[in-house]
């Protein structure tokens, strides 16, 4: 009997501990900041994946409205060689005060990074000549195909475009 109780105690202790760890993990979101030089490799990978890169910001209303579509793509396609990266254009001094609280509040699962390169005129045309600089904007690419969109997406439209790019793979 003593043995059983002891085991139970151990088990409950372990499970408690692991719960706590995962909770701590979610409270410790860290956001990596990028310049164009460090971001560029993420936009030109030639591996087997298709990448959906969304440029957004917490202050951009149409961006926030379309985030669920990107989150859903991330959830339903991550086992199908698709990676969603949410590139935030929030102000670098608002990571702690705005961006991280937003990620927690909306429970974002996609990879969020911060584009902190202020010299926008240098890097916007390198991402796409077509991009005026307005957000939301999205780049979908794999090693065979690449398409840029300065527009908002619904889930259906995003999935349709993703499938078009998929076909090229």
């Amino acid at each position: 009997m003593k043995k059983i109780l002891f085991t139970l105690l151990i088990v409950s202790f372990i499970s408690c501990k692991s719960d706590k760890t995962s909770e701590e993990k979610s409270n410790e979101i860290s956001i990596k900041s990028y310049t164009y030089e460090t971001l560029e490799p993420l936009l030109s990978k030639d591996d087997d994946k298709t990448y959906v890169i969304n440029f957004w910001a917490t202050w951009c209303k149409p961006c926030v409205e379309e985030l669920p579509a990107f989150e859903k793509i991330n959830a339903s396609y991550k086992d199908k060689n698709v990676e969603v990266i949410l590139v935030s254009l929030d102000f670098p001094n608002q990571i702690e005060t705005r961006l991280i609280p937003f990620i927690k509040e909306h429970n974002l699962k996609s990879n969020v990074i911060l584009m902190a390169d202020v010299d926008q005129n240098k890097w916007i045309p390198k991402i796409s000549e077509k991009w005026s600089g307005a957000i939301p904007a999205t780049l979908i690419y794999n090693k065979n195909s690449r398409k840029f969109y300065e527009q908002s997406f619904s889930y259906d439209l995003l999935e349709k475009e993703l499938k078009e790019i998929f076909k090229t793979y």
């Binding site: 910001a57 202050w59 001094n93 926008q120 005129n121 600089g133 307005a134 957000i135 300065e150």
Partner: protein, 203 residues
């Protein structure tokens, strides 16, 4: 048979691409003649560029209340007006947003903001949203520098105010100032077109 098949494939490709080409955004390019407008200012009066008989040109800035980039540039827009109004290039700010979609960009909020910040320039409301599409503004803030040539207003520069939105003291290229200084010297601005991240204009 093989050739027929490839012809068919090629034509299918042509037809498919013909309908998927994304239309190029309309609006002004550098060198185009800009249209005048008659829009309501925050003081209730209607403002047109033709009201300014002695102006050599205008710094037309599509901007608004809510956008963090617009807010970050407010003081620099006031400085531009103070610095260049006497030199013949006053600022005219235009809010292009539909206030029904863009919270905080309604006329009353514009009046409030202009008063709070002490705007030294007209802050006009593009009611009906007819002006910004003609200019081809896509985001806020978006600058169109106009220069009077043979009584016509020619677009001399399109783009950002400078190259550092987040820190005015760390700016290394003052695009608009450099462009106006070039015009004053009788030269062509270079660069005459820049890009920046901004808030999409809400239609």
């Amino acid at each position: 048979m093989k050739t027929l098949k490839s012809i068919l494939l090629v034509s299918v490709f042509i037809i498919a691409t013909a309908f998927t080409i994304i239309p190029v955004a309309d609006g002004y390019k550098v060198g185009d003649t800009a249209t005048d407008f008659k829009l309501k200012n925050v003081d209730g009066k209607m403002v047109s560029m033709s009201d300014y008989e002695n102006a050599k040109g205008f710094i037309v800035i599509f901007t608004c209340n809510h956008c963090p980039f617009s807010i970050a540039y407010e003081d620099r827009i006031i400085d531009l007006d103070k610095q260049y109004k006497d030199k013949g290039y006053p600022v005219i700010a235009i809010n292009p947003n539909n206030p029904e979609i863009s919270k905080g960009d309604d006329f009353v909020s514009m009046q409030k903001r202009a008063k709070e910040k002490g705007f030294t320039f007209p802050y006009l409301f593009d009611a009906g949203q007819e002006i910004f599409p003609q200019y081809g503004a896509t985001r806020t803030p978006h600058v169109f520098l106009l220069n009077k040539e043979d009584k016509e207003l020619k677009v001399a520069y399109i783009g950002a105010i400078d190259n550092n939105y987040s820190d005015a003291t760390a700016v290394t290229e003052k695009y608009v100032e450099d462009a106006i200084n070039a015009l004053i010297k009788g030269e062509k601005p270079s660069p005459n077109f820049t890009k920046a991240i901004g808030c999409t204009i809400k239609k």
